[in-house]
């Protein structure tokens, strides 16, 4: 059996970016087709991953491990569980769609844009399968670079402010993580995550490490109150950058929580779970209201991302509360699964929402809600997709947006009905800001004459939107295959929650 599948997945897009880059600005079409080829190949390889991964088998599969930095015992260690597989396949799927989405839109240095996208994709895949803390850290930091370039070169007018804010914000958090990792290293003399998970730590140590990790990952998610880089970054980012940022990069934060906080500092995690739960509820309610009054479409969807990611963090940490306080492992599974599904679903829904905004922006070159109105009159097919994704964004059953939120709310109720009450508020406020946006953008008479000149979506755009739609609907109508894929891994995570390390 070929056992370098994961390496292939990481390096295929990263190395594939080189010929794309070499194609140069003189041959933009070559660069486009090459990058599409690489993205499709990566997606196909990731499908092999789906086949090779055995949901019933051991937690970490397709293990690769090579000594990397011998003097520190750092390994180039890769492996996946069901959650990683799901995230990787989502990443490669979105990877194709951002390449196709940018096809004619990016006219300025398309080869560099495409290459940056491919590198970003490879690095993200790497983050999702690293089993060595230092390798994870290196990749975690490295993804900032292509994103920095994407926003900095192809971004909007305030891109310098946005990139700096984005870079420094996330970099600031990572420093704390590095310190925590160094501390762990001097205790365990390894960066291997499995070994770190078994390392006994006093509560005092755990608490310090917990907050160090929390700062790093909370910024990435992002959680209230360290979320303000996200709206700015989204507003300035090109469409593809926004899509990858919302769909995949945010998941790195919650994925990090799963891989670091849960196994390494479970007691501190349980002790401080209430903080995360409260912040998640604040994200749902408070951010919901903030989203309501945004005048920029991208900002609105960016805020709605923060609110939806609140369900991921809520689901993960409600599982802590359920396991530790009630011993209710079964319901904890529901909460944890809900969080995982919400990660995947949000990838598709937010990616699709940003694509829709990009489609309109390409035509009207404004993101201000007030400039639109009556778009449905000239773009009925676009309207169909937009309403579908808006409904997914407000968690309508039958779309993927419902599944995760439903599970998390069910689990929250068992932990504490008040938590469920605040979480379920998303039903109202989520529908409020999303459908009000739809009302102002899509419905009504055309008031702006430029709207009347907007053209219906092209075949290329239809392909992108239809692909997102297929994913959103498939997950919403039949989530069981995804649940099954992640079931064993989620059960393993929940077992870890119960382990006392002190």
């Amino acid at each position: 059996m070929f056992n370098h599948l994961l390496s292939l997945l990481i390096w295929l897009p990263v190395i594939g970016a080189i010929p794309v880059l070499l194609a140069g600005s003189a041959r933009p079409n070559l660069a486009r087709w090459l990058s599409l080829l690489v993205a499709v190949l990566t997606f196909v390889v990731s499908l092999f991953l789906l086949v090779q991964y055995d949901p019933a088998g051991n937690a970490m599969q397709l293990v690769e491990s090579h000594l990397w930095i011998a003097s520190w015992g750092v390994h180039y260690g890769l492996a996946v569980d069901g959650i990683s597989v799901a995230l990787i396949v989502m990443t490669t799927f979105v990877g194709i769609l951002v390449i196709v989405g940018a096809w004619e839109v990016i006219q300025d240095k398309p080869h560099q844009y495409m290459a940056a996208m491919l590198m970003l994709e490879g690095l993200l895949i790497g983050v999702f399968c690293a089993t060595d803390a230092l390798l994870f850290y290196a990749l975690f930091e490295a993804i900032l670079i292509p994103m920095f370039i994407l926003i900095g070169i192809w971004g909007g007018p305030r891109r310098v402010y946005a990139t700096l804010k984005f870079f420094i914000y996330t970099f600031f958090g990572s420093v704390f993580m590095l310190i925590a990792l160094l501390y762990l290293y001097q205790k365990a003399h390894t960066f291997d995550l499995a070994t770190l998970a078994a390392l006994p730590l006093t509560f005092r140590e755990q608490a310090w490490i917990f907050f160090a990790f929390l700062i790093a990952f909370a910024i990435k998610v992002p959680m209230v109150p360290v979320h303000t880089w996200l709206p700015d970054a989204h507003v300035e980012a090109p469409t593809g950058g926004s899509v990858v940022l919302a769909a995949v990069m945010l998941k790195v934060g919650t994925y990090g929580m799963l891989r670091f906080i849960l196994p390494i500092v479970p007691d501190a995690g349980a002790h401080f779970a209430w903080i995360i739960i409260v912040l998640s509820l604040v994200a749902v309610v408070y951010i919901g209201y903030v989203a309501l009054v945004q005048e920029d479409m991208k900002k609105l969807v960016a805020y709605s991302s923060v609110a939806h990611m609140g369900f991921v963090t809520l689901g993960i940490f409600i599982a802590f509360a359920l396991v530790r306080e009630q011993g209710n492992t079964d319901m904890a599974l529901v909460g944890m699964q809900g969080a995982m599904i919400q990660m995947i679903s949000h990838g598709f829904v937010s990616g699709a929402m940003f694509t829709c905004i990009g489609v309109m922006y390409d035509r009207l070159h404004t993101r201000a809600i007030k400039d639109y109105g009556g778009v449905i009159n000239v773009m009925p097919w676009f309207g169909f997709f937009y309403v579908l994704f808006a409904m997914a964004n407000c968690g309508l059953p039958g779309t993927s947006g419902f599944v995760g939120e439903f599970m998390v709310i069910l689990a929250s109720f068992s932990a504490n009905p008040w938590i469920a009450l605040f979480a379920a508020f998303t039903l109202i406020i989520g529908a409020g800001y999303t459908l009000w946006l739809v009302k102002r953008v899509l419905w009504g008479e055309i008031t702006n004459p430029h709207v009347a000149e907007m053209e219906e979506i092209s075949g290329r755009e239809t392909f992108v939107l239809a692909s997102f739609a297929a994913a959103v609907l498939a997950l919403g109508i039949w989530p069981q295959p995804l649940v099954h894929l992640m079931d064993g891994s989620v059960a393993q995570l929940v077992q870890q929650l119960a382990i006392h390390k002190i």
Partner: protein, 680 residues
């Protein structure tokens, strides 16, 4: 004998296939193709629904309850998509598919000139599919799926004419108000899973008796009864969907949608989903008399107070909309006194006569070239006799004239409330009784204003004006028609006739088994102590006797009073209406302003929400987080940098001075340390 899965699947999926074909392939199959496929789909569903009903009643088929596929399985928790088909479901299937089929046919005539013709057919078929999934569900997850899906289609259809500002305001409002209900509903489902450990109906209902004595910790010192919490939460969902006070505000505005969907969705089927749901959950509701009292009071309030608003409306559709609210209140009252089968029975009869009234109103609207204001109608009976007669049949059923279907269902509810000893039953009895008078007043007023008396419109005699359609809606002068009104085409009148028949007859034939004959079997569960129908059953001696008895009762007297009053005012003394209005000006204003509920909600929730959002955004995001924390720390770094930068001024003498200073400090330090005996 077992019902076959493939038949049930066909019932559900046939409209979906029609929806997809009409929605995505309209360009290839055309307008006629679109209405043909959707009608064909509905025809199949309707025929099979009748077959299923036949099998369950006379064919001796057992109840069907099976899962189709697993939606998720996490640990011991399972959510599936599956069907539960018993007589309650079968009755709903028949009602939904029958009314939906007729509405499909009717739409051919009503939407003839609309550019969104195929889209409309796609939507109403999607609605029918969603409604089937809702009533056929065998678990709470799928119930919620259907519940929200019908809400989505309702949203799309209210805003069908998406250029109208009022329509897109109304659909947003409808969706959001429904979401408030769904919020409670979802918490109810979560509570069911928490206490009963399952989302499956049958398992949950079997485990329901175990709820007794269980409580939910609300605060450190407060415990609430588990069954009460579950039932009130679920009922909040029903209040949204079935438009009960205080979540009723969306239904009158939903009249912005085309009339066929007002008949199908906002009268006959979707709005009764809440009633159906509570009847389905009867094993749970029976455990909490507190919750049932809550249901009773809410229903009674809705029945009377929304009906009153109907009296002052001038828009023909809005009168019927308020009437629907009021009738939904009657059904809810029936639920509140544990008379679930009575509620469902009224649901069925109401579906027929209310769909008839709406479609009749639609027929009038076509004839009036999309004028809906009754002040510009009058005397239409001679132009459109079929519409006139069928609407009278519907109206008689609505006001519950003995022998009509509406009589059997409504009179039974009033009687049952009188028998009930539940807390709130006295108030409810007053409301439903007074409601009978109110129903008569708004119904007869509407019929007279529309069909009788003098014509209050004129026909412009210029020609070549173009055909009637939606294009000229709102452009013409009120009360001036381009052509004389005429009877609608057969695709419109045929559904009216086909609905008039059950409006008259279905009650007579079904009242015995449905109300007093335990026809629903295990589908509905009533505790013996609560069984008001059993009490009434002792006095029931057949449908004829019941109707004859009805002539001697107070409700009939009230209807006669209403009839006489309206006849006098609107046929013989039209000026009187205006004088009454000015004499009762304050009361009229209260009703005309709809008790100011809309204004309060809009100010409080819509404006208030946006205001709160602004405060959060400006104060929280911009000032505190970004201003003080993020850019504040950046500013701090700047200031520190700016201060330290001064040290590196670039002037040689500064550096020389610093060097000398450093040397002095260094030497001085050595001298100081050296003078202290370290480690000696």
């Amino acid at each position: 004998m077992q019902l076959s899965t493939s038949i049930l699947l066909t019932i559900a999926l046939a409209p979906l296939v029609g929806c997809l074909l009409a929605g995505f392939f309209a360009r290839f199959i055309g307008r006629a193709g679109s209405h043909s496929v959707t009608i064909l789909g509905l025809l199949v569903s309707c025929a099979l629904s009748f077959y299923v009903l036949y099998q369950l009643t006379l064919g001796g088929a057992a109840e069907y309850n099976q899962n189709l596929y697993t939606w998720f399985q996490i640990g011991p928790f399972n959510a599936s998509v599956g069907f539960m088909v018993d007589r309650l479901t079968a009755m709903m299937l028949v009602v939904v598919s029958f009314v939906s089929l007729l509405v499909h046919v009717y739409t051919i005539g009503y939407m003839r000139d609309d550019p969104g013709y195929t889209r409309f057919f796609s939507y109403i078929s999607l609605f029918t599919f969603s409604m089937f999934m809702l009533v056929m569900s065998n678990n709470f997850m799928q119930l919620f799926f259907g519940w929200e899906a019908v809400g989505l289609v309702s949203y799309l259809l209210i805003g069908f004419w998406y250029k109208r500002p009022t329509a897109i305001f109304a659909n947003l409002k409808a969706f959001l108000v429904n979401r408030v209900g769904d919020f409670g509903f979802l918490l109810g489902i979560a509570a069911v899973l928490y206490f009963l450990g399952t989302l499956d109906y049958a398992t949950a209902f079997n485990a329901a008796p175990g709820l007794v004595g269980k409580t939910l910790q609300i605060t450190a010192h407060t415990q609430w009864d588990a069954a009460t919490v579950i039932c009130i939460c679920l009922f909040v969902g029903a209040m949204g969907k079935s438009a009960q006070v205080p979540l009723h505000v969306w239904l009158p505005d939903s009249m912005e949608g085309p009339t066929p969907i007002s008949a199908l969705i906002h009268a006959a089927t979707m709005v009764t989903a809440g009633i159906f749901m509570v009847a389905r959950m009867s094993p749970l509701f029976e455990l909490s008399s507190t919750a049932l009292s809550f249901v009773l009071v809410m229903g009674a309030t809705t029945a009377l107070f929304t009906g009153l608003i109907g009296i002052v409306q001038n828009d023909i559709k809005r009168v019927i909309a308020y009437s629907t609210l009021s009738q939904l209140g009657y059904m809810t009252v029936a639920l509140g006194v544990s008379m679930y089968s009575g509620a469902v029975f009224h649901l069925m009869t109401h579906a027929f006569f209310k769909a008839l009234l709406f479609l009749g109103a639609g027929s009038v609207i076509i004839a009036m070239h999309h004028e809906q204001d009754m002040r510009y109608m009058g005397g239409l009976r001679k132009y459109m006799p079929i519409t006139w007669i069928t609407m009278w049949i519907g109206s008689l059923a609505l006001v519950a004239i003995p022998f009509t279907s509406g009589f059997y269902s409504k009179d039974a509810i009033i009687e049952a409330v009188g028998e009930s000893h539940r807390w709130g039953a006295h108030y409810a009895y007053f409301c439903v009784m007074a409601g009978a008078l109110v129903t008569g007043l708004y119904t007869f007023r509407q019929m007279y204003l529309t069909f009788h008396g003098k014509e209050r419109f004129t026909v412009a005699d210029h020609h070549g004006h173009g055909h009637d359609g939606h294009d000229d809606h709102g452009h013409h002068e009120p009360g001036v028609l381009a052509h004389a009104p005429k009877e609608s085409p057969w695709v419109v009148t045929l559904p009216l006739v086909l609905l008039a028949i059950p409006s008259l007859l279905v009650g007579f034939f079904t009242v015995g088994p449905m109300l007093f004959g335990n026809w629903f079997g295990n589908a509905i569960h009533v505790e013996e102590a609560n069984d008001v129908l059993a009490e009434l059953g002792h006095e029931f001696h057949g449908a004829t006797a019941m109707a004859l008895h009805g002539f001697t009762q107070l409700p009939f007297l009230l209807v006669v009073i209403a009839f006489v009053t309206c006849t006098y005012i609107y046929l013989f003394n039209p000026a009187l209406a205006g004088r009454i209005k000015s004499a009762l000006k304050p009361l009229w204003t209260v009703l005309d302003r709809k008790y100011w509920v809309d204004n309060v909600y809009f100010a409080l929730f819509a404006r208030g929400g946006v205001m709160l959002g602004r405060v959060f955004w400006k104060a929280g995001e911009t000032t505190v987080i970004d201003g003080a924390m993020v850019n504040g720390s950046v500013g701090l770094v700047h200031r520190i940098a700016a201060t330290t930068r001064r040290l590196q001024s670039g002037y040689l003498y500064h550096y020389a001075f610093a060097m000398i200073l450093g040397l002095i400090l260094l030497l001085g330090g050595y001298w100081f340390i050296g003078s202290v005996p370290v480690g000696q």
